[in-house]
């Protein structure tokens, strides 16, 4: 299966004349080296801002967190745990529904609150509160927590994440702003497995 050679087809020009001695053209090699070095300098100068742009989202936790109101404390009956919703303080106009955040508010006493993240301490799925059995259950891998947020069973290795809470006037505020994960909340109060924590070391300031 030979391709018939076309009359007007010329053989491709073969390689140029034999390379000149490298030593005699060291000027060209030098120029190439200068060219490469110039590229390196420009590249470096551009890389720094590009990397800064790329890592712009990486900030210390404090930069994302601020006090958010969950509404009047009267909305939360004493002794009960209720779902509260708020809009994340850091948001973009095109976030749509995703800038909403839910959390569980437990009013332990008149002026004592515990606010739990909706995210399971295992892998972040939304836990649901069952007042009848006084348990939080996670639909993903079966984590369960007692009313005070301590681990009851399943794969989580700790209790529910808590938000710092405070009462300002008659409203409840929490220190929120980012998705709670083991990396940014594990250093907070570690809820041990003690089931008898009636008062607990809740981080609430009331």
């Amino acid at each position: 299966m030979n391709i018939p050679s076309h009359p007007e087809e010329n053989p491709m020009p073969q390689s140029h004349a034999p390379a000149e001695d490298r030593l005699t053209v060291s000027r060209r090699w030098l120029l190439l080296k200068i060219g490469i070095a110039f590229n390196a300098v420009v590249g470096l100068a551009i890389t720094v801002p590009v990397l800064k742009y790329l890592f712009a989202a990486v900030k210390p936790d404090a930069a994302y967190k601020s006090w958010v109101s969950l509404g009047p404390i009267a909305d939360f009956p004493v002794g009960e745990t209720r779902l509260a919703k708020f809009t994340n303080p850091v948001r973009l106009s095109w976030d749509g529904e995703t800038s909403g955040v839910a959390c569980w508010v437990r009013r332990v006493a008149e002026r004592e609150f515990q606010v739990f993240a909706i995210n399971c301490a295992h892998l972040g799925c939304p836990v649901r509160w069952f007042p009848q059995s006084q348990l939080f259950m996670c639909p993903c891998h079966g984590g369960a927590y007692y009313a005070d947020g301590s681990r009851a069973s399943g794969p989580p290795e700790r209790g529910l994440f808590t938000y710092d809470a405070r009462i300002v006037g008659s409203t409840l505020q929490i220190d929120a702003g980012q998705m709670p994960t083991l990396s940014n909340t594990a250093k907070l109060v570690q809820l041990d497995g003690g089931h008898d924590r009636t008062k607990g070391d809740s981080p609430c300031r009331g």
């Binding site: 009960e80 745990t81 209720r82 779902l83 007042p131 009848q132």
Partner: protein, 242 residues
């Protein structure tokens, strides 16, 4: 040898297709609605009520809602309130958002309307007036006991019909006793107010007295797993007789 390879290849392909056919599929005709926008009675009832009150409002552990007498006994406001706020002190949970549940007022309304549509009967007329849902009368415990001995004991003497068990009485509200006395549990073959008194219809006063008597049997420390051996708890009548 070559054929064997073709056969195993075929097997691989069928596994591939087999796996694929188990994948979740086929979305509905409409976009998935938000949970708080669902007002289909079947869906709401099937997700929130059927486990206790039975698939068709019958044959569940809790009272049967598919009972025209019960539907007549309860007015809309009461039904709505019970679903929304639950009944404290009993197992009936609060389903309304305002009480910590998951259902909006519109959804509770949809449940009430659906039950009426399915299980109420507008043409239900009784020969004698039905005792009201709640009573203004005061109960007479002694008369209630007499009534119980004469009208109820014939059925409720056996171990399996023991309604005087103080543990049972600790778990049900007075209203629940009253409701079941009037409406009965037709799905279990238990009579309502028209026939419960040995074929005689019972009156508002009878119901009130019977409830007062049963409530008087409650004890300070119910829930003894072995009432026969318990000394602190008041022993139930059936064990005294043995």
């Amino acid at each position: 040898m070559h054929r064997a390879h073709s056969v195993s290849l075929l097997a691989v392909c069928s596994i591939l297709i087999g796996c694929a056919s188990h994948l979740p599929t086929m979305n509905s005709v409409q976009p998935v609605p938000r949970p708080d926008q669902i007002v289909s009675f079947d869906r709401l009832y099937g997700e929130n009520c059927s486990a206790c009150h039975g698939a068709n409002g019958q044959d569940g552990p809790a009272i049967d809602l598919n009972n025209a007498v019960l539907q007549q006994l309860l007015d809309d406001a009461t039904l709505h309130r019970v679903i929304r706020d639950g009944v404290p002190g009993t197992q009936m949970p609060a389903f309304g958002e305002s009480a910590g549940g998951m259902l909006t007022d519109a959804q509770v309304d949809a449940l009430v309307a659906g039950m009426r549509r399915r299980w109420a009967s507008a043409s239900l007329v009784h020969p004698v007036q039905m005792p009201p849902y709640t009573s203004t009368l005061t109960g007479n415990t002694a008369r209630g006991q007499q009534l119980y001995q004469s009208d109820c004991r014939s059925c409720h003497s056996g171990r399996r019909q023991q309604v005087t068990d103080p543990t049972y009485l600790a778990l049900v509200s007075e209203q629940a006793l009253r409701t079941i006395l009037i409406a009965g549990r037709p799905d279990l073959g238990h009579p309502g107010w028209l026939t419960v008194g040995g074929g005689r219809a019972i009156t508002d006063q009878d119901v009130t007295d019977l409830v007062a008597y049963l409530v008087s049997l409650r004890v300070a420390t119910p829930g003894q797993p072995y009432p026969e051996q318990s000394e602190t708890g008041k022993t139930a009548p059936h064990t005294q007789e043995k």
